[in-house]
Subunit: 311 residues, 2 copies
């Protein structure tokens, strides 16, 4: 990937996404002892950064491919993203979702007029169900995170953040399937001034941390985390980018995630989902290393079931 | 009051407040069938518009008065506002709070280093406790809503809104003690282009609605509302302004308040307290009258106890 690939992706998707605001909180800065700039992708269309990659991936399909529709499997936000992106671009979408996905997320997908194919909450079940539809409909499979156009799309959030705050020394992003962190790391590399990218990951789903340690793609030993967007695993397209461009990954406990989430809700008065809070939790858990530094934090999304809050 | 009084108040308080953002939501516009512009005072310092009036009132005191400190009684947001305003301006503050005020609000006041004098949750008890301290300390009493400098301060939120959206045809604001709606009505009168101000009020605390009907200041028959900031009653300073400049008041049910609050949280991804939602609930309950109109909505605050959400 070259710088130009991200620039082109950004130009391509701009009419279909929001250039989301960058917010600061004096109180959180005091608590952390650093200057934090929050990229608010919770304000993005469908409530999460995933809209960026979904639009970019569909727009890179040929006309013939677009006619046959697109398909993905996703626990939530990418499902909504591909649904709305497809609707905006006049393409039919099929979505395979685990039966355990939150009601809010299922309702949102149905709101875009898409039929959901429910399956068991395992990666195998998702893949089988999605392959079946690919073969039957000829639909193009778009992976939520292990797809180069998706990665380039997700990287545009970091590009916008650096356009507003060019002097960031560190950018923290959550690590789930690896699409956001890989895109963020590429953008920081091409558009930052020696800006380091650090991932935040729950101890309870620390496949990326262990993958960087071992040099191979590792599986999650558990996915018992409140950060429901981060239960997925790295792929062979994003892992080499992460190896090359991500500085390191900081793991956080469930208590640290909930505490960071409360801090954002109470102090910034914005709604973020637990996955977003993981990035701030990572900053806070190592705040002694970042005194007075300029730090970007990617708040990845705000889709949370208000009936199931952890506080 | 002249236009110049609001302009001067705004200049005076500007260094101590945020010029809060004005947000829109395509989805809420679709639901309501109008163009709504939300003035986000939930992002104001202390999380509510009350900071504006508190700063303005303290800054209008003489040096001698400032030396003796200030006192108020408040169920919540004005308590925090006067505490932070006093701290910012180097003035001592005393706060009388009802024992039933939410823990979040009490903690926030204590966070500014202010001692809280707790009293029974009645207007009489508040007034007795506060008079006692006024006499003992010589502190200046600053009423949360029935004080001209407070009213002028609160009006600056509407002035900022009209600076960004000069063509608003209607502005909705919640009605509690009457300070915000009176200030909003003054600003709409002086800075709007025949912009009408409409109040939103819970059926369960509809003193202002009935006061406008009867022509006298009426008391609440109940205060059994989730909108905890709107349980207070009009005063002799703000009532004549409301009579002259407020078009009318729309009452809403508790269900309408909770439903509007959910809509804001889910669709706009921002945290607002029930009192803020009352203004949107009023628009929605009469949406047939406002098709395609440009409407401002003052989101008054975002201080809510996350452990006691209505959903």
């Amino acid at each position: 990937m070259q710088k130009e690939d991200i620039v082109k992706s950004h130009k391509r998707i701009e009419p279909y996404i929001h250039n989301t605001p960058v917010l600061s909180s004096q109180l959180i800065n005091q608590i952390v002892g650093a200057n934090l700039f929050f990229k608010c992708e919770n304000f993005q269309k469908i409530g999460a950064f995933k809209m960026r990659g979904a639009v970019n991936a569909i727009m890179q399909l040929t006309d013939k491919q677009r006619e046959r529709g697109v398909i993905t499997h996703s626990s939530g936000n990418f499902a909504q993203a591909l649904s709305l992106a497809a609707l905006s671009l006049g393409v039919k979408a099929h979505i395979v979702m685990p039966s355990t996905a939150s009601q809010v997320k299922k309702d949102a997908v149905r709101g875009y007029g898409v039929d959901i194919v429910e399956c068991e909450p395992t990666l195998e079940a998702r893949e089988v169900a999605s392959l079946e539809i690919q073969q039957r409909e000829g639909a193009a499979f778009i992976h939520p995170s292990n797809n180069l156009d998706v990665i380039l799309g997700q990287g545009t959030a970091c590009k916008e953040l650096l356009e507003k705050q060019p002097d960031l020394e560190f950018i923290f992003a959550p690590v789930g399937g690896g699409g956001l962190i890989a895109g963020t790391a590429l953008s920081a590399h091409y558009f930052g001034k020696s800006c380091k990218v650090i991932g935040g990951e729950p101890f309870e789903a620390d496949d990326a941390y262990r993958s960087l340690q071992s040099g191979n793609i590792e599986s999650n030993l558990s996915t018992n985390t409140i950060a429901d967007g981060l239960k997925t695993e790295l792929g062979d397209i994003n892992f080499p980018i992460i190896q090359e461009h991500v500085d390191r990954i900081v793991r956080v406990t469930e208590e640290e995630i909930v505490s960071a989430m409360k801090l954002i809700w109470y102090r910034m008065k914005i709604v973020v989902e637990p996955s977003s809070a993981v990035a701030l939790a990572a900053v806070i858990s190592e705040k002694h290393l970042f005194r007075n530094r300029k730090i970007g934090v990617i708040l990845s999304g705000g889709n949370v079931d208000l009936n199931k809050l952890p506080f």
